[in-house]
């Protein structure tokens, strides 16, 4: 716990980026989930602290690319907690975050074995979801099979097992990404398991409970980070249970800082040339984020993008310009920005 000069006692450790690693340069992307780097502002840090202290899910709103999804992994790495994520789609159902049951495989196994299906155990067809892994990883690994009933035929495979191996087995950060993609019954369906820290697997009757239900640690043992692009409204009952923070597009100064830190963590040089590139790009991106009309560089007849470029797209431009040696002016830049920032339909002015 650190005494914070900004006016509160933060529950978070000092938040740092991962050690520079040149091996990361080859694979670094703005969307990676290793939590290596994140530029967090005071307001967001306070929101995280409040979510930890109040033991409430943290709901992050904001445009795509504003850094909602990458926060959770960064916090997990700094806290030393396990990290799990579930990217929600239109087909995601509330139960998917708890468990899934492969009835089709069981039916096939039963058909292949004999007409009665004797010897099949329902536990072998249960796959734990992210909340099960967060609540009780040992039970999840055994698919909820009690110790006195032997081992599961095939133990469940922990998501990101390598990443989580050295982390606290009793604490976890869970990212539920793009919750607005699913039907409204998904957020509502999470209220009970999150509120009670337990759920029961219907097919096997297994009661899954959070291992660390009480703790004297003011941070608790579970941080749920939920993101929404606000494509649809979330149920009021769900909102009333969350700590909510909207992530705004950063101004150019902060964008430069973000770019610099990404380069450093990737083990890439960040000298005066890179600083100049970052500054020029950040100012360009900021100008494109303004509601003023887009520059004439856009292809005639191309559809107007619905929003300005995001931080993620800024980083795309940084890596592209740096790797290709393209300065932020001239004809090549105009073509490059159409590819990575303006996202014109077709992307080719000659079309």
């Amino acid at each position: 716990m650190t005494l914070d000069e900004d006016g509160w006692h933060s529950l978070l450790p000092e938040l740092t980026d991962a050690e520079p690693d040149s091996a990361r340069a080859g694979r670094v992307t703005p969307d990676q989930r290793d939590g290596a780097v994140y530029v967090i502002d005071d307001e967001l840090r306070l929101a995280v602290d409040v979510a930890l202290a109040a033991r409430r899910p943290l709901l992050l709103r904001g445009d795509p690319g504003s850094g909602k999804s990458s926060l959770a992994a960064f916090l997990a790495r700094n806290l030393g907690w396990r990290y799990y994520e579930h990217v929600v789609t239109a087909r995601t159902r509330p139960r998917d975050l708890l468990w899934t049951f492969d009835a089709v495989r069981k039916l096939a196994d039963a058909s292949a074995r004999d007409s009665t299906g004797a010897g099949l155990r329902d536990h072998d067809y249960v796959d734990p979801g992210v909340l099960w892994w967060a609540f009780d990883p040992e039970s999840a690994c055994r698919r909820g099979l009690p110790q006195d009933q032997g081992d599961p035929t095939v133990p469940a495979r922990e998501p990101d097992a390598e990443l989580n191996a050295a982390r606290d087995r009793t604490r976890a950060v869970v990212l539920i990404d793009e919750v607005d993609k699913a039907d409204p019954d998904l957020p509502n369906g999470l209220l009970v398991p999150l509120g009670s820290s337990e759920f029961r697997v219907e097919e096997t009757g297994t009661l899954v409970r959070r291992r660390l239900r009480t703790t004297t640690d003011p941070r608790g043992s579970l941080l749920i980070v939920i993101t929404t692009n606000e494509e649809r409204e979330l149920p009021p009952a769900f909102l009333r249970r969350c700590v909510i923070r909207k992530l705004e597009a950063p101004r150019w100064g902060r964008m430069v800082e973000i770019g610099r830190r990404h380069l450093e963590v990737a083990g890439l040089p960040c000298g005066p040339q890179e600083e100049e590139l970052l500054t020029s790009l950040a100012k360009k991106v900021e100008s494109l984020q303004d509601p003023a009309p887009r520059p004439a560089a856009r292809a005639p007849g191309a559809a107007t993008p619905q929003r300005g470029p995001s931080t993620a797209e800024f980083l795309d431009a940084v890596y592209a310009c740096r790797a290709l040696g393209v300065p932020v002016d001239g004809e090549v830049w105009e073509r490059l920005q159409r590819l990575v920032l303006l996202k014109d339909a077709g992307g080719d002015s000659s079309a």
Binding site: L46, V50, A53, A54, A103, D183, P218, R240
Partner: protein, 337 residues
């Protein structure tokens, strides 16, 4: 956590005890937990063209039980353990306690957009001059869900059917599943902008906005038409409209129209209503259910249209259960290819 599971003043107290913020940050902490910040001022009721209204914590004054004990339970032991009793004494949390249910207007403009815990209608209601919406705001999202949900095809296994088939040693070509109403197919929204619908223009816009926020902006394709879509439809002005293009197969269609029931001098109602029957048949062949939201009551609905369309009365008397029964019928779902 409150008994209902919602954020309560207890959460605020716990957060303040753990973070021990100064006064300025304490306000931010309470705001993040969805609680009103400013003491109520005499004469401010939050009605009319005024400030956004937030609900004040509902913990009554009598709940000022010993605080330090509960707060102390949640803090860490060890050499750095804070003096929780002293922290509790100095906490500014008492000012968040107000008589239950009292409303505190928040005038700092940081209001509605970031307000957790408030239904959208709470912040938009009561604006001067706005008429009451035709649908009940509190149930509008659920009504829209009920109107445009289609079967996702991934529902629970229908054990009754499955067991019966297996017991009879019948071979199953398809695993039987219960219907799972879902919005994943999106919706085509048809809005009638004919003169007969002029009295409902603002209401139609409210419905369109509610459909977008419920189904998802990217999943809604809106077209305007006059009288019937089969005479032309489009996204812009009437002169840009073209021949109506149905949505992809299986996508539900929600039409907002009066179906020729409004008294318009000189209008031939028969061809208009026949056109709606033709549309219903066209969409049915493509597995797209057609739901019509109409402001006229069931007593005036033409029987032929009742048989062919899923009609919903655009009125506060419509309930989610009633709409669900009328619209989401498994028989309809089997039409989806």
């Amino acid at each position: 956590m409150s008994a209902s599971g919602e954020v309560s003043v207890g959460d605020v107290a716990r957060a303040l005890a753990a973070l021990r913020p100064d006064d300025a940050v304490a306000d931010d902490v309470a705001r993040l937990l969805g609680h009103g910040l400013r003491p109520a001022r005499v004469g401010q009721t939050g009605q009319g063209e005024g400030p956004v209204v937030r609900r004040e914590p509902t913990l009554p004054e009598v709940s000022r039980r010993p605080v330090a004990r509960s707060i102390g339970d949640s803090v860490s032991d060890g050499p750095r353990r804070p003096d929780v009793d002293a922290a509790a004494r100095t906490l500014p949390w008492r000012r968040y306690l107000r008589p239950a249910g009292r409303l505190v207007p928040v005038t700092d403009g940081g209001g509605s957009d970031d307000a957790p815990g408030l239904p959208a209608e709470t912040s938009s209601r009561g604006r001067g001059g706005d008429p009451e919406p035709l649908l009940r705001p509190s149930t509008t999202p659920r009504l829209i869900e009920a109107m445009v949900a289609t079967d996702a095809g991934d529902g629970e296994l229908d054990l009754d059917v499955l067991v019966t088939a297996l017991a009879a040693r019948r071979r199953l070509e398809v695993l039987p599943r219960r219907p799972h109403p879902s919005l994943l197919h999106g919706v085509q929204l048809l809005v009638d902008v004919a003169e007969a619908m002029a009295p409902y223009g603002r209401d139609a816009e409210q419905v369109a906005a509610a459909v977008r926020t419920t189904v998802g902006t990217a999943m809604v394709r809106r077209l305007s038409f006059s009288g019937t879509p089969l005479r032309g439809a489009g996204t812009g002005s009437a002169w840009t409209w073209t021949t109506y293009v149905p949505p992809p197969p299986g996508t539900p269609v929600l039409a907002v129209t009066e179906l020729g029931m409004a008294p318009v001098p000189g209008r031939l109602v028969g061809p208009l209503q026949q056109s709606w029957l033709d549309l219903a048949e066209l969409l049915s062949r493509r597995g797209s259910p057609l739901v019509v939201l109409t402001p006229f009551p069931p007593q005036r609905w033409p029987p032929a249209l009742v048989r062919a369309l899923h009609l919903v009365h655009w009125d506060r008397s419509s309930t989610v259960a009633r709409v669900g029964r009328a619209v989401f019928r498994p028989a309809r779902l089997r039409d989806v290819p």
